[in-house]
Amino acid sequence: MSSIAVELVPAPATVARRETLRALLRSKTFLVGALVVCWWVFCAIFGATIAPRDPLAQSANVLAVPSVHHLFGTDQLGRDVFSRVLAGARSILTIAPAATALAIAAGTAVGLLTGYRRGAVDDIVSRLIEAMLSLPLVVVAIVVAVALGHSTLTLMVIVGVLFTPLIARTVRAAVLAERELDYVAAAQLRGEHAPYIMFAEILPNVMGPIIVEATVRVGYAIFAIAGLTFLGFGVQEPSPDWALQISDNYSLLAAGSYWWTVLFPALAIASLVVAINLVADGISQVLER
């Protein structure tokens, strides 16, 4: 009997998690955002398969107006824009989360270290971070991209490294508040090693801000990667990447009104980043209650 009673009462952490989830599902903005994000993730995985035409296949039917045959028209190489929009989700939805994951891992480590250790390391790292942040991110990214050459991997690493100080700053602030609490002193008295205290004691307690930061950063990573791709330093031809489609076709706008070649990829990027922001907003409102 007593064993059943124990099973019926879930651990407090599970209850808290379930409550968080329930609060999230009540938020309309979160639901709308999550739905759109799920749609683009689905496209990232299956987009090339469900596309009516081969997104890379060129044809003689160039710059065709949207019609029943080509829902979103064709671009200047005769490629079907609708298929390219579906298939174009993959590149950005691979690189941006990967870059964010890299930045979160590195930023959390740096933030924990500087926040917990304080002292000279903290001073020096903080000053360097301030200096890095006083240059526009795009400018630094361009220079580094030229220096290292442009591949998808370098793009990911550049954005990941440039986002690291921003995340480190957030984590550091959270750690500073946390390190004064009794459980940290207790762990120190028990004789735990610093790495154990940082990663096993403090880290679980600062996960809230880290999760919020991660969702917000995915949005910014898409912003940065799309911008760099537009400038020619990101995803390269012949990928159906959305920013690349815009970069390929925007010069046609001045010549005539081939609006469909840029409008649909533009709407795709916009809907994805707005949806991610809605999700991030929902999560932060629930976690920071």
């Binding site: 000053r127 220079v143 001045a254 009104s257």
Partner: protein
């Protein structure tokens, strides 16, 4: 106040020194031999060596840095490796163009976003608040070239009310120039609107909830006067500080917007310099951007301290 500003100035100089080291270090990463890049693959090794010696790039790195920075401080920005002319005349034209664009964007951005934030705060929780907050949140997330494309499609091509090109014909008057800059400025404004409006909203809500506001209302002061004299005076201070930090994003946004509109600004300069490995041009333009940014931050600090009595009277106390 003087001490506060001196401290800020000293910090700016230290940051600038660090930035110059970072910029120089990154530029050193640029692959390839400078002389070989300039002269091309068919030049003899001898002439490449000769040019490298002439340009001084065969010296140790720290000597190169010292000579670059001492020349820079004296106003000598060197000559462009690509165009073989002095950097400054090219750079100053682009800088002036960028400042025009940034100025128009700024004049649109600041009143619009502050108004948006204050209105959202006064109608907290109602429809207007939700619309402004969500729109700001969404616009901030959309890359500037995406919103610019939509603006071009709507105002340039569908309604045909604004020129699609950012560069006014030579000799155009002030108003014509502004008209040409409206579309790119609007795109920049859209990206920054959300953030500044959010700060203005938060500041206003805080001031609305403060005891002094309640006192003023209970004292029977008219609502309009309470908002103007008690709420806005306190709520806009943090907003000013935030606007200064957003200038970095504004400048970063210039790179993308100037390319999209094919506008000869400093962002376009940096882009072509990076693509052509014109590293004297690149280093100088990046450092100039850092200076502009830090100067703007300093101006914001001055403004902040002039407006904030707690800092203005700190010395007297």
């Amino acid at each position: 106040m003087a001490r506060f500003l001196l401290k800020r100035l000293a910090l700016a100089v230290i940051t600038l020194a660090l930035v110059s080291v970072i910029v120089f270090a990154i530029a050193q990463l640029l692959p390839g031999n400078v002389g070989r890049n300039v002269l091309g693959g068919f030049a003899t090794q001898q002439s490449v060596n000769h040019l490298n010696h002439q340009l001084g790039v065969d010296r140790p790195v720290y000597v190169q840095y010292a000579s670059w920075i001492s020349n820079f401080v004296q106003g000598n920005l060197g000559s462009s490796l690509e165009y073989r002319v002095a950097v400054w005349p090219l750079l100053s034209t682009s800088l002036l163009n960028s400042l025009k664009l940034a100025a128009v964007a700024f004049v649109l951005l600041v009143p619009l976003s502050i108004l948006g934030g204050v209105v959202a705060a006064l109608r907290r929780g109602r429809l207007a608040d939700r619309v402004i907050t969500l729109a700001g949140l969404s616009l901030t997330a959309i890359p500037e070239f995406v919103s610019a494309i939509v603006l071009i499609l709507v105002f340039g091509l569908a309604l045909k009310v604004l020129p699609v090109d950012a560069t006014a014909p030579p000799g155009a008057g002030f108003l014509t120039q502004v008209k040409y800059l409206l579309l790119p400025s609007l795109a920049l404004t859209m990206v920054l609107f959300g953030y500044i409006a959010r700060m203005a909203r938060a500041g206003t809500i805080e001031a609305l909830d403060a005891d002094y506001t309640r006192t003023a209302i209970l004292k029977g002061v008219r609502t309009r006067t309470v908002i103007r004299r008690h709420v806005l005076r306190n709520s806009l201070l943090p907003t000013i500080a935030v606007i200064a930090t957003q200038l970095g994003y504004l400048i970063g946004g210039l790179v993308v917007i100037e390319k999209l509109f094919n506008y000869n600004g400093i962002g376009q300069r940096i882009l072509t310099a990076a693509l052509n490995k014109d590293f004297t041009m690149l280093e100088s333009s990046v450092l100039v951007i850092a200076i502009v940014y830090l100067a703007a931050a300093l101006v914001a600090d001055v403004l902040y301290s002039v407006l904030n009595p707690r800092i203005r009277y700190a010395e007297a106390a």
